[in-house]
């Protein structure tokens, strides 16, 4: 779960990391008021979750409250990376001396956390990596040991820092790791971490992403997560709805054959096989390992809420999943709706004979082989198109 800049800054600030003076504005008038309070030139920053804002003009500067209001009027409601700008962060504009990059994230390959720093902040890390690969310094952090002092010394030295600046940045690294760990972060990034001409160290931008599997121990983020999802529409709403319905995962694609499988890798395989026969998958729906008849019904409602779906393809290859329960779910769904949706079912694994018998009784074409099931569903789609 990605946080907005202003949310991430609040977390960092609560941990003691210096951030610029400022507040969130939702109207041009509020932007003017905040600029007035600050009483010096301000930065007006669109609060969006994706993309680089600076170069596309979504971070602007204003010398006085009038300009701040005018800028806010232009930015609010505009479109950025597919989402509408609903709020702005108005904060003091700093006299930048130098810009550093500091971040901590998860290194899946090393199976450690990794602290990444660079003296070349202010541009995206990918760009730093391309232009100054030698100027990226990394240290792996063991989750039990935490960030150790000698590691911090190495990182500080790598950025070429000395004296008071070194102490201030060292403090920020420690606090950033603490904030990351305490909130179950998967990414905490300050870019740029600015050293002002006056010598103070300030987090001018902030990113924080929280591990969605850990939201249960962070009720404040969990509530925010739910609230945020309530504003979604279309495919995004359906993808979110999947988690509410207890469906393992749901990803919408642009075809007409809804693929439902019990497992992620099996689902991906099914999508590949359908595409190979020029079928067009409408979605990837992983119904998970804890399958009940009710969950199957729910999953069917979910995939059918996408108006493009014409046929369903079930690929059930059960380790723990009981095929008879899957079949019950399909039959219950048809009974409730008064009609059977066109579909093909591959049912294999635990209690497969029972499952197939139930489905045959209801008039569903069933298969043991996924290759035959995929062939049949693509044919069925062609027949429907005629």
């Amino acid at each position: 779960m990605k946080l907005y800049e202003f949310e991430a800054k609040q977390v960092f600030k609560d941990h003691g990391i210096p951030v610029p003076m400022g507040r969130v504005a939702k109207t041009p008038n509020e932007a003017r008021e905040i600029a007035q309070e600050i009483g010096m030139p301000v930065a007006v920053k669109a609060q969006v979750l994706a993309g680089t804002r600076g170069r596309s003009g979504f971070i602007r500067f204003a010398d006085n409250p009038n300009e701040a209001e005018k800028t806010a009027l232009e930015l609010l409601g505009s479109q950025f990376s597919g989402s509408k700008v609903a709020s702005l962060l108005v904060e003091e504009k700093l006299d930048i001396g130098s810009e550093l990059y500091v971040a901590v994230t998860v290194d899946g390959a090393a199976r450690k956390f990794v602290m990444i720093v660079s003296p070349e902040g202010g541009i995206e890390i990918e760009e730093i990596a391309a232009k100054f690969p030698e100027k990226i310094i990394k240290k792996h952090v063991d989750p039990w040991l935490g960030l150790l002092d000698f590691q911090i010394r190495k990182l500080i030295k790598g950025m070429g820092l000395r004296g008071e600046q070194a102490s201030a940045v060292r403090e920020v690294l420690t606090l950033l790791y603490d904030a990351f760990k305490e909130h179950d972060g998967v990414l905490a990034e300050i870019n740029p971490l600015v050293i002002t001409k006056g010598g103070s160290v300030v987090a001018v931008d902030a990113r924080l992403s929280i591990d969605e599997n850990a939201l249960d121990r962070h009720p404040e983020f969990k509530a925010k997560f739910e609230e945020r999802k309530s504003h979604l529409e279309g495919a995004e709403l359906r993808e979110w709805d999947a988690t509410r319905r207890g469906v393992g995962a749901y990803v919408e694609l642009d075809g007409d054959i809804a693929v439902l499988a019990n497992g992620a890798s099996l689902g991906m395989e099914t999508i590949d096989l359908v595409s190979d026969l020029s079928g067009k998958p409408a979605c990837f729906c992983d119904i998970g390992a804890m399958v009940t008849a009710e969950l199957v019904e729910n999953s069917m409602d979910l995939v059918l809420s996408n108006p493009r779906v014409r046929v369903l393809l079930f690929n059930i290859l059960g380790g723990l999943v009981r095929c008879d329960l899957v079949a019950d779910g399909i039959v219950n769904h048809a009974r409730r709706r008064g009609a059977l949706v066109p579909m093909v079912a591959r049912l294999s694994g635990t209690l497969e004979e029972q499952g197939r018998n139930i489905l045959r009784g209801a008039g569903v074409e069933t298969f043991d082989s996924i290759f035959e099931a995929v062939k049949r569903v693509v044919e069925m789609m062609k027949e429907l198109e005629k």
Partner: protein, 287 residues
């Protein structure tokens, strides 16, 4: 010469953590039916009960006192208690430890994996159906009818794709030495590179199948081995930037794409199959 499979075999004596839960009970039955020697179960507060004849204890330590021959574990403990349960099993020196829990927070998975590594213990999972050496030991919930005993070493992340591949191999008259499912999460205990090395050194394995998927870099980290390797990467038609069920299966900034995996695996000498049935056909040709 004694024939050993990798990680589990006839000498495996398993403890089941969370044996009294719904899945613990069902899978214990399946493992016993497959011939696995399960010596004890552990569920706090349930000491003295029996599950399919297996005695239950409150602590791993108590189970070990009564059954000192125990040398492996599988846990059906849910994510919110998994750090404690895993460290308990690691502290008892059990290895491998299969962790079936889904939705384990990354921080918790890292704690478990790093502690296990420092103790020299193998973790399989989290979010895995486990490991299966046909006719020797099932430490997991693989559906047995898709597996025949043979000399193909099989590794995958999730269960479904491994059953599918194994079923295709079986239909061509071949079988599996061991099937290792390393798990669908971003952080896994055992990696493909480690399992590949174990298969390379295994006398019971002649050729190796990697049934990988898009996302992460585990496929790219594997190195060249002397035995023939067939690789299948599912998700080649999946869109990038979307998390396809498995936390690992997301292509971000070009990392973990189908193309990058195929390139890395091919240059390490693996032959690439496009679907499970092609895996079996290629194996026939290679052996």
């Amino acid at each position: 010469m004694e024939q050993l499979a990798i990680l589990v075999d006839e000498s495996t004596r398993a403890i089941v953590q969370g044996i009294t839960g719904t899945h613990g009970r069902i899978v214990t039955k399946r493992m016993l039916d497959a011939g696995t020697r399960i010596v004890a179960g552990v569920t706090p507060g349930k000491a003295g009960e029996k599950v399919h004849g297996v005695p239950v204890y409150d602590l791993v330590e108590e189970a070990m006192r009564e059954h000192p021959e125990a040398n492996a574990a599988i846990s059906f403990v849910p994510a919110r208690f998994i750090v404690d349960a895993a460290i308990e099993a690691i502290s008892a020196g059990l290895s491998p430890i299969v962790i079936t829990a889904e939705h384990v927070p990354t921080f918790d998975a890292l704690k478990i994996v790093n502690y296990a590594t420092s103790c020299g213990i193998y973790i399989i999972g989290p979010n895995t159906p486990g490991i299966y050496s046909p006719a020797k030991c099932l430490l997991g919930f693989h559906p047995l009818r898709f597996f025949g005993k043979g000399r193909v070493g099989l590794m995958a992340r999730g269960g479904g794709i491994s059953y599918e591949v194994s079923g295709c191999i079986l239909s061509k008259g071949m079988g599996i030495s061991t099937c290792v499912n390393i798990g669908g999460d971003r952080i896994t205990g055992l990696t493909f590179a480690q399992v590949l090395k174990l298969f390379e050194e295994d006398d019971e394995t002649d050729c190796i199948v990697i049934a990988g998927e898009i996302g992460g870099t585990l496929e790219e980290e594997t190195s060249t081995v002397t035995k023939p390797v067939v690789a299948l990467i599912v998700g080649r038609t999946s869109p990038s930037g979307k998390r396809m069920g498995h936390a690992g299966a997301i292509i971000e900034m070009g990392m973990g794409s189908y193309e990058s995996k195929v390139k890395a695996l091919s240059s390490a000498g693996a032959v690439i199959a496009r679907n499970p049935s092609e895996v079996a056909e290629l194996l026939l040709r290679l052996t």
